[in-house]
């Protein structure tokens, strides 16, 4: 199933239509949402039709396009605008896998486990791999790579000619549901977004790309691993989620999360919380990443 970024494909829209139609017949689809196939097809077709207005070139292989739009940050100060424009961008359909990351460390041995600088990755970097250049049983080739630092993720992205997505880009993509740009208004979607939290991280992670694609065609955003973003350290939630108004910036909540845009979006709070708990050298057993690319200026 996994198509490497190097593989070329046919035109973006025909690929997308094929993908959406194909997914209609996956049992997952009807099990989760009980939509009749006909109704779902109508939605899918109208979604594509609606998107015909966007003058965005088709995405590189393995990536999906997210058209220009606005992002309303979860947490902002009084001085910051309620929403910020986000230019169109491409985002990997799936998280980066162990196999892909192995290619990278083979090409750049300084990112191998035994050679990585402790400044750029903490102890535990790729600890689940069998060795420097061998995945082993705990790191299936098609599973997302985890235990990678922000530095390492960034280096990989650069190697592929891409970059890490920004928080705004990542969150904008993840805010979409299965059938619209706003999952919060899709029946059942907010509850679905919490299900991942009810399951402990398995010892061996499943393969990427098995999740149902969201409105933009991106998979697994809310159901596989946490993902690094380029500006993770701007989340700036202190450990004290209720009193952050007292900090030098008006960062978060305070007096009952007063600065937050949507207090019902628990998953977004948790992502903000996770990002602010991290430092760039941290390696965490359930934090991976995917890459993004700007639509050429």
């Amino acid at each position: 199933m996994w198509r490497s970024p190097q593989t070329s494909t046919s035109s973006r829209d025909s690929e997308r239509l094929a993908k959406i139609s194909g997914s209609l017949f996956k049992p997952m689809f009807s099990r989760h949402h009980h939509l009749s196939a006909a109704f779902a097809l109508t939605l899918a077709v109208s979604a594509i039709a609606g998107r015909a207005d966007h003058t965005v070139p088709s995405a590189p292989a393995g990536m999906v396009v997210i058209p220009a739009g606005n992002y309303a940050p979860l947490i902002r100060t009084k001085d910051e605008p309620p929403s910020v424009p986000v230019a169109a961008y491409y985002l990997d359909e799936r998280a980066v896998t162990n196999a892909e990351f192995l290619d990278f460390v083979r090409a750049h041995p300084k990112w191998q486990r035994s050679r990585v600088s402790p400044l750029f990755a903490d102890v535990g970097y790729l600890a689940h791999w069998a060795s420097d250049a061998e995945l082993g049983p705990f790191a299936p080739a098609a599973a997302p790579v985890v235990r990678v630092s922000w530095f390492a993720a960034r280096a990989y992205a650069t190697w592929t000619g891409k970059r890490l997505p920004t928080t705004a880009e990542w969150e904008r993509t993840a805010a979409a549901g299965f059938t619209s740009t706003n999952g919060a208004t899709e029946p059942g979607f907010p509850a679905y977004a919490l299900v991942w939290f009810s399951k402990p991280t398995p010892d061996t992670l499943p393969s990427v790309g098995l999740g149902r694609p969201n409105f933009y065609g991106a998979r697994d955003l809310l159901s596989l691993v946490w993902e690094w973003v380029d500006d993770f350290n701007t989340a700036m939630v202190s450990g004290e989620s209720r009193g952050d108004t007292g900090l030098e910036r008006t960062l978060f909540c305070g007096a009952g999360a007063a600065g937050a845009r949507d207090l019902t979006n628990y998953p977004a709070f948790m992502r903000a919380g996770l990002r602010s708990s991290l430092r760039a050298s941290y390696v965490v057993p359930n934090v991976g990443f995917r890459c993004a690319q700007s639509v050429s200026p």
Binding site: G124, L194, P200, W226, S238, Y266, G273, Y282, P285
Partner: protein, 505 residues
């Protein structure tokens, strides 16, 4: 509670702090780091005897401190996300302090310097932190302990205030972290310690919000809509439905003083904590150490609050712990048990004394219903009488009960084997007088007997007082007497006694 000292005390405390600081040489200050002043006491340097805190899983409580001096106490608490039973057939991924809900119980002494290590297990999905209400300091330690998965944080505080304090995770979204199980209790013993108790237990209440309805089976996810609406699907003691019942019930013996350290994690509900069949002799309300309320039936414990309740168990039995907002106890799990074993005390509590049909105004004697019931009762009695097997059992039961009655009253004169005392108390064993007239025997027990009689050819002239027995007791004791020590002369029914009693009135 954070310390709110009245101004004079605060000034005194500052004065002490300054005085303490000036007593130290600069080098001493440098090596000891912080110098912490306790209001009203001497400054405490951090160079104190070192101890590692004993932490216990609910319902157990660490032993009393016993120390007469402060110490530096190291607390190691591991945050772990674990999937375990919430109710029968229902699993839930709990976020825990120490792998347990509620979190491990921490016990320190007022004035102790607590070095706290929060370790977030590598398998955790979430970053976590801890806010201990026993901490005087911003966030109760939360900001200093915010910890990514697979990392560890350390901070130190002085336990300024004695009391029973809640601790909990304060990472956004806080209600979810708490609902998922991230709460526990820390007891800061007053310097003089607490009065001794025979049993100390740890019970904590929390409310949970599952996407499935109450008791819907399977692994359940958190439902933030129900949480925001404060509509819990579960309200539980110690982390799961049935955590304190059956084999897991709390235990005590009659005469013991039982002390419960009770806390409410919430995130939302206040508890009306009550133990069915007990009155709390003493309640340290709201977990504070200064005021003890006495003879309390139900104590209200706020979310993020606590109480210490204590009572002496006087009688045996099973005592039920509930949140007296009873739908929570009956339908959602807020129910536990305390099993007390030991001798009965009938003076304090009789147990059931009478259980009989009560017809009330609805079914007066002579009504169709009562007539019909009487017919059925008669029919039943007849059926029993005709069935020798049941009849024999009935008689056997009567004999056992009759023996008890005999040994409680009659044997004093007629003696244990019914042999009597020649010339004074006539015998019952082999008595021709007894055998000759059953009705006379019944009347004798009911009304007593005085004056001369002849039994087995020998004269007796004494007084037997009337016996204050029920009809059943008269029937039972006479049946026993008429079938013991070689006697074999039938039986007496309760109905016969009733008839004779009525005839004699």
């Amino acid at each position: 509670m954070k310390t709110q000292l009245p101004l004079p005390r605060l000034t005194a405390a500052l004065g002490l702090l300054l005085a303490g600081a000036t007593l130290l040489t600069p080098s001493a200050r440098a090596s000891e780091g912080t110098v912490i002043a306790k209001p009203g006491g001497a400054p405490i340097a951090t160079e104190l005897p070192l101890e590692v805190a004993v932490l216990t899983k609910a319902p157990n409580v660490p032993p009393p401190i016993g120390r007469k001096h402060p110490a530096k106490v190291v607390v190691n608490l591991e945050v772990k996300e674990v999937t375990q039973r919430l109710a029968d057939g229902v699993e839930y991924t709990f976020w825990t302090f120490g792998g347990e809900v509620p979190g491990l119980f921490i016990r320190v002494r007022e004035g102790d310097v607590v070095e706290f290590h929060l370790n977030n297990h590598p398998s955790s999905k979430m970053p976590h932190n801890i806010d201990l209400h026993a901490v005087t300091g911003a966030g109760g330690g939360a900001a200093s302990s915010f910890t990514a998965p697979g990392h560890s944080s350390q901070f130190t505080f002085t336990a300024l205030n004695s009391g029973l304090f809640v601790y909990h995770c304060a990472t956004a979204p806080v209600p979810m972290h708490i609902s998922n199980g991230m709460y526990g209790l820390i007891l800061v013993e007053p310097k003089e310690g607490l009065p001794p108790a025979d049993r100390e237990y740890y019970v904590m209440q929390g409310d949970l919000y599952t996407q499935g309805a109450t008791n819907e089976s399977g692994l359940q996810a958190f439902d933030n809509v129900k949480a925001m609406d404060e509509r819990p699907t579960y309200v539980v003691f110690n982390g799961s439905v049935g955590s304190l019942v059956g084999d897991k019930a709390l235990q005590a013996k009659v005469g013991e003083v039982v002390r419960l350290y009770f806390g409410v994690g919430g995130p939302n509900l206040t508890s009306s904590f009550h133990v069915i069949g007990e009155i709390f002799d003493r309640v340290w309300t709201e977990g504070g150490m200064k005021h003890v309320q006495e003879n309390v039936q139900t104590t209200m414990v706020p979310a993020g609050g606590s109480a210490i309740v204590e009572f002496k168990v006087e009688v045996p039995g099973t005592f039920i712990l509930v949140d007296h907002s009873l739908s929570r106890a009956f339908n959602k799990g807020a129910l536990g048990m305390l099993k007390v074993t030991g001798p009965e005390n009938r003076r304090l509590y009789s147990g059931k004394e009478i259980d009989e049909v009560y017809l009330g105004q609805q079914s007066a004697a002579g009504s169709a219903a009562s007539t019909r019931e009487a017919q059925l009762v008669a029919q039943k009695a007849e059926a029993i009488a005709k069935n020798p097997e049941i009849a024999n059992i009935t008689k056997d039961i009567q004999l056992e009960r009759g023996k008890k009655v005999f040994l409680s009253a009659c044997f004093a004169c007629h003696l244990q084997e019914g042999q009597g005392l020649p010339g004074v108390f006539p015998p019952l064993a082999g008595s021709d007088y007894l055998k000759a007239d059953k009705e006379r025997a019944v009347r004798t027990v009911l009304k007593g007997l005085s004056g001369p009689i002849t039994v087995n050819g020998k004269p007796y002239n004494n007084v037997m007082p009337p016996q204050e027995f029920t009809d059943d007791q008269v029937a039972d004791v006479l049946t026993y007497v008429m079938n013991s020590w070689g006697n074999a002369s039938g039986s007496v029914s309760s109905d016969e006694v009733k008839r004779i009693r009525r005839a004699g009135q």
